[in-house]
Symmetry: none
Subunit: 305 residues, 2 copies
């Protein structure tokens, strides 16, 4: 059985192509690591990179790419709509094959220690790697964003990092952790009234009694005449894409707003797609193992040659 870990860091740069190229170069400098996807978002001014491989090469690539991001991205110059605290804002390890979530948490701790000790970056451990309950969720760690954390990190003992110094330089802090696959899913609405998106986000998010395993925020999309409900599906088996889409569509319908379109950010597991197909085609037994490419990957892991 092959062991494959995915790493899906988010960098606070979505506009300068040469910076993104430098980041990809840092990942690819490690043999055996494959860049799966690059999702550049100029509106939010951030970029999601997905790469994967065996655990040790992936750990090394994560270290190198965070180091490069800290060199090239200055949070004092950064503007963008999405909450962030660092140049390499968040670095999650995700189990894909032959590794557990606990294995990924151990990788996160090892990366965090190196970033703190070798680069002098403040590091917060989150998700399955969190050292305390109040650090399990990203929004709690990002509270106040870069600008607010700059003050709080030195004055509030509760904000002390898990590794590295209790002070922020222009590269900010990095959140490192382990989690299950997460689906970032944005639904755009045909209105320029951001209050509509914010109201819907409040209704559908789990924290307000909405859909299980769903986080949501409402955003304005400047210059497009549209607003966005930006969702994180943290467990697609509990709330999948279609359920989320329908919930947002239904909520938008009451003030008479149309869905302009929706967009999955990054990669998603075949299982999450299979669920949409099963429901749409009334084919409840339809499963991801019907997908030819997935069957091929599974065979490749079973009988390496």
């Amino acid at each position: 059985m092959a062991t494959i870990v995915e790493c899906v860091p988010i960098f606070s740069e979505g506009r300068r192509d040469w910076v993104i190229d430098e980041l990809l170069g840092a990942v690819r400098s490690v043999a055996g690591v494959r860049v799966l996807e690059v999702e550049k978002d100029p509106d939010h001014n951030r970029t999601v990179v997905a790469f994967a491989g065996a655990p040790e090469p992936v750990l090394e690539a994560a270290f190198r790419v965070v180091r490069r991001a800290a060199d090239l991205i200055d949070l004092d110059q950064h503007e963008g709509a999405h909450p962030r605290i660092g140049a390499a804002d968040v670095v999650p390890f995700v189990p894909v094959a032959g590794v557990s979530l606990a294995d990924c948490a151990e990788l996160a701790r090892r990366l965090g220690r190196r970033l703190g000790e070798e680069l002098g970056l403040p590091v917060y451990l989150y998700g399955k790697a969190a050292t305390r309950p109040e650090r399990r969720e990203l929004p709690d760690i990002r509270r106040g964003e870069y600008e607010g954390l700059k003050v709080a990190i030195a004055s509030d003992p509760a904000r002390a990092p898990d590794f590295g110094p209790a002070r922020l330089g222009p590269a900010g802090a990095t959140v490192v952790g382990a989690r299950l696959p997460l689906i970032a899913y944005n639904i755009n609405l045909q209105t320029d009234d951001v209050a509509v998106a914010k109201t819907i986000a409040r209704k559908v998010r789990e924290s307000a009694g909405g859909l299980p395993a769903v986080r949501a925020i409402g955003l304005s999309l400047a210059g497009t005449g549209q607003v966005q409900v930006s969702l994180n599906l943290t467990d697609y088996r509990r709330t999948g894409l279609l359920t989320a889409f329908r919930a947002v569509s239904d909520e938008a319908a009451s003030p008479g707003v149309e869905v302009a379109g929706s967009h999955v950010v990054g990669l998603l597991p075949a299982e999450a797609l299979a669920e949409v197909v099963a429901e749409t085609l009334r084919s409840p037994n339809f499963a991801a193992d019907r997908i030819l490419e997935r069957a091929l990957l599974v065979r490749a892991e079973e009988e390496p040659s």
Copy 2:
């Protein structure tokens, strides 16, 4: 872009397990080729094997498995209900990822040449690889079956093979070609009136001016109180699963019949599912490369490390 080709040969042996094991061994003897499915049919005395990988290894595996079949299967001893002309009766190459139908036709020609020159097997090219219009469809090439072709191949210039000698040994002849993935898709209706299924099948099939690239028949499902519209989608880019599902649902609605459910038979390419997701979620740019397992597979094929 990495390329993945599937090969789905049919062998004239569905009873002797040791022969089928030998055939699978021949496929697996090529590094990087994975057996996806084996469908043994003792009644028809034939077996369908699906395997896949990068084009060159798949081509080599196809050559080896046809050679083994020609050694082990004697058409003079073969009995079975399904039309056939050879030990390895038909060998289609199917594009899965990063490869065109024309690329698959070229693979078919290369395999055909090797089978003719190295093994002395008569080879007919069909489908996209056909050298003349009357060889596009399998039934035309199989006319008279092994027994009839044995005489005709030597006497009728129209039956001369594309490669190899114009004479049949006990391994018969092999039809080699290229085609698009074929999706077998059944939709069950909540009625016991088979006329409803037959009427809908007549309306949606291409031959009657219905949906492009769709074949359809109406069937009774004995003992279930349901009937079935059984579809073959021969080009899912022209008519996909969702379009077919909606067309059948709409046709059923006018006599007031409900869809009970639907069922995809066998494996299907991720692209065919991506289309369902793109349309359902109003996400026109959603593509198969968003699927994590597919992205991993594709990168692994293109940058081995």
